[in-house]
Symmetry: C2
Subunit: 372 residues, 2 copies
Amino acid sequence: MAKEFTVTPWEVKGDIDYDKLVKQFGVKLLDDNILKRLEKLTGELHYFLKRKVFFSHMYFDSILNDAETKKKFYLYTGRAPSGPVHLGHLIPWIFCKWLQDKFDAHLLFQIPDEEKFLFKENLTLEDTKKWAYENILDIIAVGFDSKKTKIFLDTEYAGHMYKYACMMAKKTTFSTVKALFGFTDSNNLGEIFYTTMQSVPAFLPTIMEGKPTQCLIPCAIDQNPHFNLSRDVAPKIGFPKPTTILCRFLPSLAEGGKMSASIESTSIFTHDTPEQVRNKILKYAFSGGRDTVEEHREKGGVPEIDVSYQYLTYYLADDKKLKQIYEDYKSGKMLTGELKGIAIEVINRFLKNHQAKREKAKDQIEKFMLRD
Amino acid sequence: MAKEFTVTPWEVKGDIDYDKLVKQFGVKLLDDNILKRLEKLTGELHYFLKRKVFFSHMYFDSILNDAETKKKFYLYTGRAPSGPVHLGHLIPWIFCKWLQDKFDAHLLFQIPDEEKFLFKENLTLEDTKKWAYENILDIIAVGFDSKKTKIFLDTEYAGHMYKYACMMAKKTTFSTVKALFGFTDSNNLGEIFYTTMQSVPAFLPTIMEGKPTQCLIPCAIDQNPHFNLSRDVAPKIGFPKPTTILCRFLPSLAEGGKMSASIESTSIFTHDTPEQVRNKILKYAFSGGRDTVEEHREKGGVPEIDVSYQYLTYYLADDKKLKQIYEDYKSGKMLTGELKGIAIEVINRFLKNHQAKREKAKDQIEKFMLRD
């Protein structure tokens, strides 16, 4: 039986039943028909799609309609800065880059530096701004096209956003956000208003192009309630309805729950050293192995619950290799120690490359920033 | 017995009992002690003070403390654009100009072009922006010093405001604004957030000067609840508490209530022609005269309820002349027709001058606007 779980844009806890969540959020699974249409356009499917890391959506088919008729659409994703970037944060960004490359699409990258400030008691705007610039290095390191990617901080770009936030705000009552986000009278005015600021970038493509232009938002599923609201309001204020394509959460190293920057020991950060990654995985990565080597050889491991294996589904692109690992672990041929060794190697290889690109990103920030 | 009345920043109705309102809003009357301190600094008192047009305040004494020790303070007032400017709107602006001249003070003039858009169903942002520029001509026509006066629209200047609005918003719950403004769950998110944007200009002096700098807000008393809230929050976010100096409302031409741009026939607009002013006053100005000339000559008129006389208290600076008119009308020597004639002449003289300056203002807008 599934345990209780909670998923809101500001809280994810418990053992998430994604089937239930899909129904609860009123989104759809990415079915074979949609994936075939996408593959026809892109020539191949990203392994995130084949492995159902990106697994659900809200009207992604209307983006395919535009793509099939060569109509321009924008991508939009974001990062609320309140700490260092971990491996989970990167998933939608990596997928965004793939979409950008395949569709030659513009990407708007929102840094809502006010969001966590408003929702976390002890965080200052100086803190979030500091993290914003740290996080932007990770974003640039993903490899976006600087000519087609614009990054902006809400507190800096508000002069171009507040007007549209007000348009959305006029059409949204407190009752609505109470029901949608579970707010109460004790929520602060910034928390209450914030959802409108997160919607605005979905309207910017139309403003920037000067004609109705669709927007696809690749993000983790917890963010969908914002865009569900944007969809309701968009036609009332003259914008196309935004669409989403949604991913699961990268699990925490420990059993259950998603990776969370606030629990350092069970998260792998982009700044971690190879030694730190090694230690964390050896020490904390929840294992699907058996109690003894004998039992493991006999019954085999359970890759479905093994966190190291899960990480490989996110970070090992090679389908064949992954299949082999799955089979070897499942059959008992591969022990947990070996599996952890592979995960450590794959992640450290990824991070070495990422960290080098992150270092280079320090000179590229201004090319990406949307200042005015 | 006083009738029921309502005064909020968005609704003023009924027969206002200012003594009750002062208690309800927790503000103080401008007493002789304060007025004497002010007169010592300025050399004279503006007739608005002598006649109790400006009659109450919130910590105006702390501004006097600064003025007495030659410390710099700023003025801040505003205009929510949703229609043409009438004679009532000008009162705080005229007083601001006097304060600016006397104290050589910087003035921040906020044009919250989102406010009425958020609070009025049928108003668009295009409407409010159009009115913003119309109204700015009236503001400039009042004669402010362009070197010391900065005018800004919220939707244009939000890039410099939103951050501070969030700081205030974080410290203000929905419960608080429910109690303060009578909001319910049916209010929209923009209405709920708006008060933070109206507070921000009170913090800007400190930001602009780079050190704690007090702000005095001359405005009509209905706006005080916003600044009461700003005072509560300011020290929590590191700003000096704003102070206010508050005026009564210019009455409507009809009996009871304040002049309101939404009732055209009983308001005098700055664009009215001499003929329109004449017709409106003759037709609508509520009279304190008696039913017949004989009765009037015998018992005398009642200047206290006569709207033409009230307008003279706002627009006829000459104390001696006003006193003579009061006595002549009260004694029955002056008839209502004569009193109306004087009011028409005084107002038309004022408007002729204002309209000429308003015409010249068309070339001066950019000197006043705070764009970035």
